[in-house]
């Protein structure tokens, strides 16, 4: 798997990270090396092996449908970069 500039650009777009040209070049090179290393997994026979998403045999963790107090508005917005009244403000979305 070759990680070239296009792949890095695409993945950076999906992850919403702006990269400088210099970063893109460097990351492409580093990721290429890492992916080559990771490709070692292709040597493992995983036929009939089920994937492990949860390491412990825990299941059916449920919560009763009982309301608890919500966060007061001042605490909701205390960290907001752009509070607007009781709302979070973001750049105008044009659809």
């Amino acid at each position: 798997m070759a990680i070239n500039k296009e792949v890095v650009d695409h993945v950076a777009y999906l992850a919403r990270i702006r990269l400088s040209d210099e970063e893109t070049v460097r990351l492409a090179q580093q990721l290429e090396g890492i992916v080559a290393f990771i490709d070692a997994l292709k040597n493992v026979n995983v036929e009939h092996i089920s994937p492990t998403s949860h390491i412990l045999p825990v299941q059916n963790v449920l919560r009763d449908d009982v309301p608890v107090r919500s966060l007061p508005i001042d605490k909701v917005l205390v960290n907001a970069p752009q509070p607007e009244g009781d709302f979070f403000g973001v750049p105008k979305i044009i659809e």
């Binding site: 798997m1 990680i3 792949v7 890095v8 695409h10 993945v11 950076a12 999906l14 992850a15 919403r16 990270i17 702006r18 990269l19 970063e23 990351l27 580093q30 990721l31 090396g33 890492i34 992916v35 290393f37 990771i38 490709d39 070692a40 997994l41 292709k42 493992v44 995983v46 092996i49 089920s50 994937p51 492990t52 998403s53 949860h54 390491i55 412990l56 825990v58 963790v61 919560r63 966060l71 605490k75 909701v76 205390v78 960290n79 907001a80 970069p81 752009q82 979070f88 973001v90 750049p91 105008k92 979305i93 044009i94």
Partner: protein, 483 residues
């Protein structure tokens, strides 16, 4: 009396005997930080430590009597900056406490108001990837303290903290504990609530203690362990009193020595030191035998797929909308997508970007099966290796890291080499099992070496027993760095 040098249980004894007070402890700690932290830089905003004060509501009847605990910068503390040592979370003050913090407060601990340094979002093995700059190893400030909980480990090693909490996703407690010559425990996945731990890789992360000795480790684990209804992955298994496992006796303990951990790549001094430690355990009555963990070599690649994939999703929320850093551009002219891309491009450091991109790639269309799904399957094989071993071993002993601490800047430009320093610790996270690192000697140049003990899920008592017996039979934990 140099109170800052003491363990928590020693301080509790002194307070109990009326020989010292909480004020004295805080005074001495502040003094020590003032003297040494400009060299070590274990704390993120060390100029603020002078404000660290006794928590006024601490109850004299409480278990911990107000003794402070140092917290890694990725564990949420209500009203206290919790920034994961990242620009993107700069200024973030959570309006809630992590469950471990709540438990500590209920036990009467003071939360030390300045956080311990770490690699940004716990991405790293050297604490060099911090927005606040690197922490240095108290044993030799030219060296890294390990990571990502390097601030917590260095603070404990330098006597700038009584004890500390860290988090461990692939070795982030155990490896810095080894590099700094302290005790670090990664509990079983699900043993300690992750609620309020800013997630790196949800299926691997676990909070644990970094302490000056094994007794403190057991004491702190007693307090933070247990089921939490706010964490669906925490397990409802009874928490024993871990101090009860502090018995100096390993007679008949079946110890597995995995041959895959002593091959190429291991530093000769580390190898010799750990072999000496194994001999010591044999002398103490342990039954050691060679075992095999055949999929060991795949642990690092599996880890770097699973951990980065989960991280790429966990870190999506840092987008400049609700908290943390937002790129300061002309509001009226910036589109939403530009705001996101600039905020994240400017807010994340190099290693964070690298891992988010790798994880995004591993999950992206066309690569999911080849990378992510395959990694989950190999994870199953790694888990099975341990299941097999623990059928006839009580614990497994390995070096914590293939090398002692390395020099600052030595590996920062070579991510792969950096990743390999977690070679021996990652498997425990993948298998969900507990692991502890304890000091087992020094290199010729005076850097600590760590011994890792692993056990089956929820067998922390076995770890404490073996670690305590070894520690009490050796002088390593009593040595202090000169600063």
């Amino acid at each position: 009396m140099e109170l800052a040098k003491l363990t928590c249980h020693e301080l509790l004894d002194l307070i109990g005997a009326g020989k010292t007070s909480l004020e004295d402890i805080f005074d001495d700690l502040r003094k020590r930080i003032g003297q040494t932290d400009h060299k070590v830089r274990a704390y993120v905003r060390n100029s603020q430590t002078e404000n660290a004060d006794v928590c006024p509501e601490i109850c004299a009847q409480s278990i911990l009597k107000g003794i402070p605990v140092t917290i890694k910068d990725n564990i949420c503390t209500e009203g206290l900056n919790t920034e994961c040592c990242s620009r993107i979370l700069s200024g973030f003050r959570p309006p809630y406490d992590a469950t471990v913090i709540r438990k500590l407060k209920e036990a009467g601990a003071s939360i030390f108001p300045v956080k311990a340094n770490m690699d940004e979002f716990a991405f790293g093995s050297s604490t060099e990837n911090s927005y606040f700059g690197p922490t240095r190893n108290p044993w030799d400030v030219k060296y890294v303290p390990g990571g990502s909980s390097g601030g917590s480990a260095a603070a404990v090693a330098a006597d700038e903290a009584v004890w500390a909490l860290g988090s461990d996703t692939g070795g982030s407690i155990r490896q810095p504990a080894a590099f700094c010559g302290v005790v670090g425990l990664k509990p079983t996945y699900g043993r300690v609530s992750r609620y309020g731990l800013i997630a790196f890789a949800s299926s691997l992360d676990q909070i644990g203690p970094l302490t000056k000795d094994v007794r403190d480790s057991a004491l702190l684990t007693n307090i933070i362990a247990g089921y939490d209804p706010r964490d669906s992955t925490s397990v409802d298994v009874e928490v024993p009193d871990y101090t009860g496992a502090l018995v100096k006796d390993v007679k008949g303990l079946r110890v597995g020595i995995p041959k895959e951990y002593f091959v190429e790549g291991i530093d000769p001094e580390v190898k010799r030191t750990v072999e000496d430690a194994i001999q010591k355990l044999k002398d103490l009555g342990g039954i050691c035998k060679e075992i095999s963990l055949p999929h060991t070599r795949y642990a690092v690649p599996v880890y770097y797929i699973i951990a980065t994939a989960e991280a790429s999703s966990n870190l999506a929320r840092f987008d400049g909308v609700q908290y943390g850093y937002r790129s300061l551009q002309d509001k009226a002219k910036t589109s939403l997508i530009e705001m996101y891309a600039r905020t994240r491009g400017e807010g994340f450091g190099q290693e964070a970007k690298r891992r988010i991109l790798l994880g995004t790639f591993a999950l992206s269309h066309g690569y999911y099966d080849a990378y992510y799904l395959r990694a989950l399957k190999v994870r199953t094989l790694i888990k099975r290796d341990f299941d097999d071993v623990f059928k006839d071993c009580d614990c497994v002993i390995t070096p914590t890291s293939p090398t002692p601490a390395f020099k600052i800047n030595e590996r920062i430009e070579d991510p792969l080499k950096m990743y390999l320093s977690d070679l021996y610790t990652i498997s425990a996270n993948l298998a969900g099992i507990p692991g502890i690192s304890i000091p087992c000697g020094f290199t010729k140049s005076g850097l600590p070496v760590g011994l890792q003990i692993l056990a089956g899920s929820f067998r922390e008592e076995t770890l404490f027993r073996a670690a305590y017996t070894y520690e009490q039979s050796t002088p390593w934990h009593l040595q202090k760095p000169e600063l």
